[in-house]
């Protein structure tokens, strides 16, 4: 049976926001029954202080104010490390279209249901007043519409899928970072990306999301190897990082003496070994990841 999903490649995402503006363009003010009511618009303004212009209550006099919109695909900046060794990716987060949707559990009267193709839909009529549906989502991608008193979220553009189209954000992405397809078809692009190691966000929630990611910032260890006396950068040093289970990865320093291990499987502690001809090898513990070890004299 069809099971729609996304694979989002954050190595490509430049936070251009075309996915989000495309989404707003599709949904703000536009309803697509029976899947979604119109998304409320973002509002903003500036209360000036000129006499005659001041609101009577004066509450927010002389300030900017904003009533944020609903980012059904919310672009989150994820960081690891500290200056000047920050590792950053922009992570677009739509509804995860979970296999076991936590939002379904507290919903009453069939307000949340799953379609045959796996899409999770919040019925805009049956969900009136059910704010607990918003609270139930561990990914924080369900929004409360105060005016209509309904929970709202990304539908994967169910109305477009019904017409044989792709979700709008996937079509709008200029770098094809958002891949849409059928996860039940092993030949589909998304299935192959999942087979190739795409990961879910927070699998520990147990919701089995159908949005997968490539290129999320992974635990890393980096450093710079220098000559103990001259402090010159040492190029070509062999650097080995070994975890507590004895598994190791190896790299060599570049012309700046720098090495960097990315894609580390876990955030635990490691052992580091540095070897270079005509220098004594050096070993040192690495107590935690997402660390730059600074200059390591050899």
């Amino acid at each position: 049976m069809t099971s729609y999903g996304f694979v989002i490649d954050t190595d490509k995402c430049i936070e251009c926001g075309l996915c989000l503006t495309a989404c707003k363009d599709e949904y703000v003010g536009n309803s697509y029954p029976p899947y979604s009511a119109a998304q409320p618009d973002t509002q903003y303004g500036y209360y000036r202080t000129t006499p005659g212009w001041i609101p009577d209550d004066g509450a927010a006099k002389g300030q900017a104010w904003v009533k944020p919109g609903q980012n059904w695909i919310n672009i989150v900046e994820m960081n690891r490390g500290t200056y000047p060794h920050a590792h950053t990716r922009y992570v677009p987060k739509p509804c995860m279209q979970c296999e076991d949707p936590p939002c379904m559990k507290p919903a009453t009267g069939g307000a949340v249901y799953k379609r045959d193709d796996g899409l999770v839909i919040i019925d805009p009529e049956k969900s009136v007043g059910q704010e607990q549906i918003v609270e139930a989502c561990p990914y924080g991608v369900i929004f409360w519409n105060e005016d209509l008193r309904i929970p709202q979220k990304c539908t994967f553009c169910a109305h477009l899928i019904d017409q044989g189209k792709n979700p709008k954000c996937a079509d709008a992405c200029p770098v094809t970072a958002i891949q849409f397809g059928d996860l039940s078809d092993p030949k589909s692009a998304v299935s192959q990306l999942v087979a190739g190691g795409a990961v879910q966000l927070n699998p520990e929630f147990g919701a089995r999301p159908k949005v997968y990611y490539v290129g999320l910032p992974t635990p890393f260890v980096s450093g710079k190897v220098v000559d103990a006396v001259s402090k010159a950068y040492l190029e070509g040093a062999k650097v080995t990082l070994t975890d507590s289970g004895g598994r190791s990865v190896t790299t060599t320093t570049d012309n700046y003496g720098d090495f960097e291990f990315n894609d580390l499987a876990s955030s635990g502690s490691y052992q580091l070994k540095i070897e270079l001809a005509s220098y004594n090898a050096k070993t040192m513990p690495v107590p935690k990841t997402d660390t730059d070890l600074g200059e390591i004299p050899l």
């Binding site: 190595d11 430049i14 936070e15 251009c16 926001g17 075309l18 989000l20 707003k24 363009d25 003010g29 536009n30 309803s31 697509y32 029954p33 119109a38 618009d41 973002t42 509002q43 903003y44 303004g45 500036y46 202080t49 000129t50 005659g52 212009w53 609101p55 006099k61 002389g62 300030q63 900017a64 104010w65 904003v66 919109g69 980012n71 900046e77 960081n79 490390g81 500290t82 200056y83 000047p84 920050a86 590792h87 950053t88 990716r89 922009y90 109305h159 019904d162 044989g164 792709n166 079509d171 709008a172 992405c173 200029p174 770098v175 094809t176 220098v226 950068y233 012309n255 700046y256 003496g257």
Partner: protein, 839 residues
Amino acid sequence: MSEKNEESAVAGKKVSRRSMLKWTGALAAAAALGAVASYGATELVKPPPEIVPSQPAAAPNEVVLTCATDAGPFLAHVVNGVFVKSEPIAPNETVGPLAFMLRNWLYAPDRIRYPMKRVDFDPGGNRNTQTRGQMRYVRITWNEALDMVANELKRVVDKYTASAIAVQGGHSWSGVLHQGRIQNNGGGWGSKLLGLLGEYLVIDSVGSVPGWSAAVYLMMGGVPSMSSYGIYNNSGIPTSTIIPDQNSLSDIEKNCKLIVYTGTDHACKWYGFTDVAPWFLRFKKAGIKQIVIDPWQNDTAALFADKWIPIVPGTDEALFAAIAYVWITKNLYDKEYVTTHTVGFEKFRDYILGNEDGVPKTPQWAEKICGIDQRTIQALAEEWASKPTVTWSMNSANNRRQYAVEYCRMVITLQAMMGYIGKPGTGIGGGWRPKTTAPVGMRGPPTVPFGPHPSGNTYPNLPPRITAQGFAQAIRNPPFNYTEFDFEAVYPEPGRPEIHMIYSTGGSGSFLNQRPNINANTEALQSSKIEFVVTQNPFWDAITYYSDVVLPVTMFGEREDIVNWQNYSIFSHKVAEPPGEAMNDLDVWRGLATRLGILDKLTGGQTDEQMLRAQYAKSNIPLTYDAFKATGYYRWPLEEQGPFVAYKAFNDDPSKNPPALIGPLPSGKIEIYSSKIANFYGPNDPEAPPIPKYIEYEDPSGGKYPLHYHCGQHPKRGRHSQWQNTSWKRDFENDYINGYRTLWMNSADAAARGIKYGDIVRVFNDLGQILCGAKPSERMMPGFVFNSEGAHYTPREPGVSDTLDLGGNGNVLLPAVNPEKCAQGCITHGYVEVERWTP
């Protein structure tokens, strides 16, 4: 809400909160979108593949039409005359970077609906120029408005001559027919109309590329450009020098081994989203090493680069000088190329080695200035010399600051030292049109020959002009004299009047937006010397609020036109009704011309469609006009015919081929020692040295404000003041946080000031104060803060110059005076302090 209520709000009377909010841009587009609220899925139809008809589609009440802004094409869905949504012309590839925001913009609550007059402006009596900026307007009729503007034009010309009329504003706003701006590159109906009255004055600068335009002109030759648009000949071909020519991106992908980015984030700004970013991914895939040198780990650094090297803002020239030092002392440069292709290298070498001033420009010397470890400078120099390298710096913020010309000349000098000009995989990169092989201009693909603007109005050379950042000084303290390139400008020119009228057009705030020292400019605008200010604009922004008469005009999607974007020519249909009584710019000018009795010289009796058809007939699109209109767009073949190498002829035979085809230098070579500078400024002017140097910029406040501040980078989404009033921008934390313009700062700097994410902060110095939303980040060099330019200047107390700017426009904090003599570009670098702010 009735329109009557809106008017009373504008008149400044006590009004209900609701109607007040509407006019201060507070309410969202709910009212405008109300008609769409019940729009249901069943009414949707699938647009036919590829060919898009202008006829109604299957559902009787929905049409799908091609439309375009100057930021790209899209398909517009229109139901009962309401523009309800957009979609890509084809998935993924053909997306205008801002296309999906147009609906949000067209229906924005701060669109101007009716002609307006400042409430206490009386052209026959007291003009009350000192109350400009107080935002009090009354509605007038179009007849009243056009009569008033026409009378003022006539009065000013009769009394002072047309030279007393200054035009300002506007970035692109243009299709083939409609063009909002009056600019000094000559195109456009407004330029033609005013030109019929006499020789008016332009307030403009080479705002985007001041450093490059001067550096290229001085070192390689060419014709100096007076604006970022360049000057075009009668065939629409640019004849002025704006930026160096660059190798095609396909050549870079194939042959380059190292890209050094300095102060640029090209792929990750709106103008790079859809065309540059995919190329950067290809560069990464091709294994080209990418190094970003920038005080901010910008998105290019975070996403594409192998290495980020933080640098103290404004000190790139010191780094470059030290790189030259390494090359010279280690014999790593191309001596033969330097001999055959350049002149004056010996003097540069003397400066680098310290023979001139006793200071060798060693990596150790540079480390103290730019904060980069001398070993890193050494390694970078050796790596750069070892393989084909491109410097990516064209649209760099570095070329919009104090001593920008030195920065750009250093880049050219380094690439010339390595012989990296005119060879595959090398060059000076980062221009504007990456999809074409030879980007020669910024005005659409060179392959789209629509010819000159139908107004037929072109300037063969330099129009009278003052720089935009000199505006306040020119008004408040004339005469205002300055140098630029290798000539001197005088204001007012002998025998000419001062400025007495300002005509502002083109949907962009210019000197109340993207030009420095806004507080000085607002004060100057209140001068009684300026007898009349008229602004023709689609939306309320700062300059509009400083105008005596405001004329509402239409935008893209509200009129038919043909728009060129990258390799597309698009028939841009009318997809939305203009708000209120908004009129096309062209019709405004027709109305004025009629009143001035010169309509026959402007457009005569030609209709828009007649002119559009006539203009189309000049193009070589292989479709009839009607077929083109029905199809919606024509896609020009992409330039994949093979890598293009800029300056190849110069590289191959410099004796026959100077780097500049028009206006070559006497030497015909790359002048590391600029004969133009030496001749004009003399050989020893410290602010205009003939060889490129690192010149220390001294903080005019004497170190009172500890943080480097920068406002030279473009907004991630939107051009200058355009698109900044879209509400959806408020949902991006890199644009706005809690309703305030985002200020990036180093986490430790923030913590030291008790500032947390999302706090409202006051950013201030002697020039002014703005409010921002704080974004502490590990991606920022300590001691450095920035926000992006373009935010609408929104004074807390309208009309008061030193008030807090709620909008967070960084140009409030930047000085207008550039100590540098060869370029008068915007200054984007200053010094500030930041503190938490509570109302």
